[in-house]
């Protein structure tokens, strides 16, 4: 009896050998251990009937468990060997088997990234219609009637008083009509200007508008939020400057520049030798805009901004002509399927 248990222990030690055996040795081991005629374990099992019932049960249980273990180990090793490279002769420089890779448009990627940064700064996404009335597109935004400020907003009309929005700013008005402060939204969308196509202009392009209205919001918050955005979107050490500008719906109005990404501020053709790149227009929401939507402009203040993600995408990726963005040439689109992960 003691001999049998010792014999089992010896067989168990052979398990290790199995895991490193090659195909031929594996076959030998199978015969040696489990062979029907003279397998070591087979012999042990054959000896079982000579034992009394209690011992038979003990040794038999152990022997059968070991048999299963051995079988599993032999099978596993056999499978492992069959999976190994078929031959050493394969030319591994041959190309892989690929699937098509899709991707988001480079402008979508920039829009998403910008919105994500503002999301972290507490801004949710809002949207609005592309067909607008003059009231929403201009007059609720404090554009005076028959004013030269309208010249920069040459519009496509669909009917008297109905036009394609020239900016995403009407969504400011729609949002403030629907929700009471505190309001913090970013508004991405398509806008339309009656400008013919050229390398830097497109009659249709994307814009991202932003709006924050609450008690106690100041010009300092505007600067802080937009600076934080620029440092996140470009680089933590990005130089930013704010300078005066004019928009009918903000006052004070500002434009934000960042140090040119190409020349680092020294002056180059991309930044027209100024060392700066204009990124966005902004300002404190004009009290008239708040009054137009029945918000008390003495109690509430706010800021708003707008930027062009297409222009930003062009700068970031060195795209020389805006028309490339809308031509849908597969060779162009495929260049940016990985741009998302590049950051």
């Amino acid at each position: 009896m003691r001999d049998l248990l010792a014999a089992l222990a010896q067989v168990r030690e052979r398990l290790q050998e199995i895991s490193t055996a090659d195909a031929r040795r594996l076959q030998e081991l199978r015969t040696e251990l489990l062979g029907r005629k003279a397998g070591t374990l087979t012999d042990i099992l054959k000896a079982l009937p000579t034992l009394d019932a209690a011992r038979r049960k003990q040794v038999g249980g152990e022997a059968n468990a070991l048999k299963r273990e051995l079988e599993n180990a032999l099978d596993a090793r056999a499978a492992e060997l069959s999976r190994a490279p078929v031959t050493a002769g394969e030319d591994l420089t041959m190309p892989s088997r690929a699937a098509w890779r899709g991707g988001l448009h480079v402008v979508t990627q920039v829009v998403d990234e910008i919105c994500a940064i503002f999301h972290e700064l507490g801004f949710t996404r809002a949207v609005g219609p592309e067909v607008e009335t003059e009231r929403y597109n201009f007059f609720a935004l404090n554009f005076p009637k028959d004013h030269p400020a309208l010249d920069a907003q040459d519009s496509f009309y669909l009917g008297p008083d109905v036009l394609l929005r020239t900016h995403t700013s009407p969504v400011q008005v729609r949002t403030l009509e629907r929700y009471r402060p505190p309001v913090r939204v970013v508004i991405p969308g398509r806008v339309f200007r009656r400008d013919p196509f050229d390398p830097s202009h497109s009659p249709v392009f994307e814009q991202i508008e932003g709006l924050a209205v609450d008690e106690g919001i100041t010009f300092v918050d505007l600067k802080a939020t937009l600076t934080a955005f620029a440092r996140r979107f470009f680089a933590a050490d990005t130089k930013v400057r704010f300078r005066p500008s004019y928009f009918p719906f903000t006052e004070p109005s500002a434009e934000m520049d960042v140090a040119c990404r190409i020349c680092g501020g020294a002056g180059c053709p991309t930044c027209k030798q100024t060392g700066w790149m204009e990124i966005l227009g902004a300002g404190m929401v004009h009290p008239a805009v708040l009054s137009n939507v029945d918000i008390d402009s003495e109690r509430y203040t706010g800021y708003a901004w707008g930027m062009g993600p297409a222009r930003i995408a062009m700068t970031r990726h060195g795209i020389p002509d805006i028309r490339l963005l809308y031509e849908s040439d597969v060779r162009f689109l495929e260049q940016f399927t990985d741009a998302d992960g590049a950051r």
Partner: protein, 844 residues
């Protein structure tokens, strides 16, 4: 707006550094787009004296000059010169060897007709100073030979190109820019080191003495000045109207200084009268119009609304029709000027003009804007009237204009100008609360600092009941409210003076737009399926009867908005084909526009907007690989893309084969309403022969949320697998077969009293009672998975018949199914299939 650095220097009485000037203006006032150096390329040119002129030994028309170019360069250089006017003892611009000249390049020492020349004496043209090439440029200077030309003669300059906002007409002249610059240079210190003073007019005398004895402003609307009757009949169009009469002018060339001033900002010199009015325009922003008194019938000047149908031949020779919305300046009989926009060819000042009528007016801005747009004429004057000029500054402006004209063209003004101003207005007063400044700007600004900033650009602030009453100068029509003054304080203080530290904020009340999330999910799903997102131009020809037309399209091609996305995407495929690209998989998510049929609430209700998603696929199913031939995308790939898009974009819809008549393809049918919300199928396109078939889909995107997935316990029991091959008679679909298979297997379990045994069920008998009937539990779906793995047509089957093979997995999650039970279910199912659809098992 282009300003000249030198002109600004004249107004400020100090030197300016161009780049720093540009920076200050950009940071405090308005963006400078460019700084352009003028004649900066003449740095190598020197003042030199010709000390001796000899005949060139080998050429009659050339002379050999001895030139003194200063001690550093040489005081006896031999220079060959071809100019007839060269004379000994005079000073000329001299380019020594090594200097470079515009359009010529760097000068080298070379022999001219056998004599070496050590440089070049220059004409005006050589220096880029004009077209005069007749002779070399004689210099009128006291500078010593050897002095840099640029240091001796005021030639070099910078043009500073300012992007002036529509709200700042005051920046459309040098005086206004100089005012801002003075404030910026003082930097809010209140220092008065730099003040703006109009420069003396060279040659100005007391020719126009009458101008100084200004006659008092009248509230009248007519009068006579020096024999000219002036009548203001349209005070709405011209609230203030002044006329001066100058007699005895000589129209001719402008003096050099005046022509140079205008040239420095890119304005061509025309004659002394036109140049003088232009100078005033660019100096102090007052448009003026001078016309010939002799051609004025009456003589009278009548300002009135034009009559419909009245015509005028404008300066550019075009006959233009006037409307009653325009203001016309007329003589006793007919209109001679479209007010503020353009004069007539007839009334123009000519060489023979001796007596001038000089108009100095304020025209109502919106009137000018509408007129200018209606007649399609742009001019520097209309540009300024549209933005609003300084109504209060008009007498000073006219006085200076008269002085200037008399100085450059002679003539005298015998009577003070007439000033028609029926309803005089005073300087506007705006209240400012210092605490409001702080509330908006976020940092405290002292009252004294506010005052300092405002007064630096011409505002006058006085305390009034704890507030400040601020008088707005006439040149700032944009400042009408308190917040306008807050902006003045902020920009004059400098935006860079404000901190930019983030402060806590309250979260907003606006939820994320669900539509944006749906679009995002949809984009990512389609991109993951190998499709590229496109953004196409939503302008083109009409793509259907519902297409919305643009009233004022840019071109004859782009006249409509899209009512569907597929036509645009198909064009993009054709574009790619034209670039020899064969494998194309594009999608787009965008708004489309159709005619609204119902009664929308929006004011734009005749246009309905919908968000659509569309995709086009053609070419190889995957990138080529050497191990096997890659097939082209076919209908079944399309069906996958369509199903994927429908799941993401329109979860309320099911994909069904297109109804008869719609062609081969599928539809997304909304459950409940039965409305078709999307379609997929082959597309027609202008395809090259090597192109693969093109397929496409388009779906209306729903903003509704997709259902939240609920966890289903992972099975703990084994499954039973069966393959069955069935012969389907013509017209029987796989979907109908699957429906029967599922129904029968469900009924089998229910009839077996919920859980116990799966008895062979009679096809259909008592099936309806099963749902919710037996024992409270929902029917157990034991047919877990049903997958088609083969289809066969051909020998062994009747024509029209096909054999379809399914792999079925059966499982009861609550217990182990027995093989026999599954066999009984299949037997029952086969019986039902045969009875209901004529489907039989295929004998192998």
């Amino acid at each position: 707006m282009i300003v000249s650095r030198r002109w600004l220097e004249a107004l400020l009485g100090r030197a300016l550094e161009a780049e720093e000037t540009a920076r200050l203006l950009t940071m405090r006032c308005a963006a400078v787009d460019a700084v352009i150096g003028i004649h900066q390329d003449l740095g190598g040119v020197l003042v030199a004296r010709v000390t001796e002129v000899r005949r060139h030994p080998n050429a009659d028309r050339l002379s050999l000059c001895v030139v003194d170019a200063g001690s550093a360069r040489g005081s006896a250089l031999e220079v060959v010169c071809g100019a007839p006017n060269v004379a000994a003892g005079r000073l000329y611009p001299f380019a020594p060897v090594g200097a470079s000249l515009p359009g010529i390049g760097t000068l080298e020492r070379r022999k001219i007709r056998g004599v070496e020349s050590n440089g070049m004496l220059c004409s005006a043209k050589d220096l880029g100073l004009g077209d005069d090439h007749a002779g070399i440029l004689e210099l009128d200077t006291t500078a010593a030979p050897g002095t840099r030309l640029l240091d001796a003669v005021p030639l070099e300059d910078h043009q500073i190109v300012i992007d002036v906002g529509a709200n700042r007409p005051d920046l459309l002249c040098h005086k206004g820019v100089a005012r801002e610059l003075a404030a910026a240079l003082a930097g809010g210190t209140g220092g008065t080191g730099t003040a703006v003073r109009l420069p003396e007019i060279p040659g100005g005398s007391d020719n126009g003495t009458a101008a100084r004895s200004s006659r008092p402003t009248t509230r009248q609307s007519d009068g006579v000045v020096d024999g000219v009757q002036v009548r203001l009949e349209d005070p709405e169009g011209a609230p203030r109207y002044m006329i001066a009469v100058i007699r005895g002018v000589r129209v001719g060339k402008s003096p050099r200084w005046l022509a140079d001033r205008l040239a420095s900002i890119g304005q061509r010199s025309i004659n002394n009268i036109v140049d003088a009015t232009n100078y005033i325009l660019f100096e102090i922003n007052q448009p003026l119009h001078a016309f010939d008194l002799a051609k004025l019938r009456g003589p009278a000047v009548v300002v009135r609304r034009a009559r419909p149908g009245e015509k005028i031949v404008t300066l550019d020779g075009v006959e233009r029709s006037l409307t009653a919305d325009m203001t016309a300046i007329c003589d006793a009989e007919r209109p001679t000027i479209i007010a503020g926009v353009m004069g007539s060819a007839e009334s123009e000042v000519s060489d023979r003009t001796t007596d001038l009528v000089l108009e100095c007016a304020y025209f109502q801005p919106t009137r000018i804007r509408r007129t200018r747009r209606a007649v399609g004429l742009d001019s520097p004057s209309s540009y300024r009237f549209e933005r609003g000029i300084d109504m209060l500054g008009m007498p000073d402006a006219l006085r200076r204009a008269v002085d200037l004209i008399c100085a450059v063209a002679g003539g005298t003004m015998r009577e003070p100008p007439i000033d028609l101003w029926p309803e005089p207005v005073q300087a506007r007063s705006v209240f400012l609360r210092p605490e409001r400044v702080t509330q908006l700007l976020g940092i405290p600004v002292e009252r004294s600092e506010i005052e300092r900033h405002l007064s630096s650009v011409g505002f006058v602030a006085a305390p009034k009941d704890g507030r400040m009453a601020v008088h707005v100068p006439g040149w700032r029509p944009d400042v009408t409210a308190e917040v306008d003054l807050v902006e003045e304080v902020a920009r004059l203080k400098g935006y860079d003076a404000f901190p930019d530290e983030l402060r806590p904020y309250r979260p907003g009340t606006v939820p994320d737009a669900r539509l944006e999330r749906v679009k995002d999910y949809l984009r990512r799903a389609l991109a993951a399926a190998g499709m590229l997102e496109a953004r196409t131009m939503p302008l083109g020809g009409p793509d259907g009867p519902e297409a919305i037309a643009i009233t004022n399209p840019l071109s004859a091609e782009d006249t409509h908005l899209p009512s569907r996305l597929l036509p645009g995407l198909t064009k993009r495929v054709e574009h790619n084909w034209s670039r020899r690209t064969r494998d194309i998989r594009l999608f787009e998510i965008a708004t489309v526009f159709t005619r609204e049929t119902g009664n929308g609430k929006r004011e734009t209700s005749f246009v309905a907007e919908e968000i659509h998603v569309a995709g086009v696929v053609t070419g190889a199913r995957s990138p080529l690989h050497w191990t096997a031939k890659v097939p082209d995308i076919d209908l079944w790939d399309l069906k996958y893309h369509f199903e994927l898009a429908v799941t993401a974009a329109a979860p309320s819809c099911n994909v069904q084969p297109a109804t008869a008549g719609a062609g081969v393809g599928w539809e997304a049918v909304q459950s409940g309403t039965g409305e078709v919300r999307g379609r997929a199928g082959p597309l027609r396109a202008d395809a090259p022969v090597w192109a693969a078939p093109l397929f496409g889909f388009e779906i209306v995107v729903e903003s509704a949320a997709r259902p939240v997935p609920v966890y289903r316990p992972l099975p703990q029991t084994p499954s039973v697998e069966r393959d069955i091959a069935l012969v389907l008679p013509p017209g029987v679909t796989a979907a109908s077969v699957e429906a029967v298979l599922r129904r029968v297997s469900r009924e089998a379990v229910v009839e077996g009293d919920g859980r116990g045994r799966a008895e062979g069920g009679e096809g259909g008998a008592g099936g309806a009672g099963g749902v919710g009937g037996a024992g409270g539990g929902a029917p157990v779906e034991i047919l877990e998975r049903l997958v088609v793995f083969d289809e066969y047509r051909g020998p062994g089957l009747a024509p029209g018949e096909r054999s379809v093979a399914w792999h079925c997995s059966f499982r009861d999650p609550t217990r182990t199914l027995r093989e026999a039970e599954v066999d009984r279910v299949l037997t029952a199912a086969l019986k039902a299939l045969e009875g209901e659809l004529g489907v039989r098992r295929r004998e192998s």
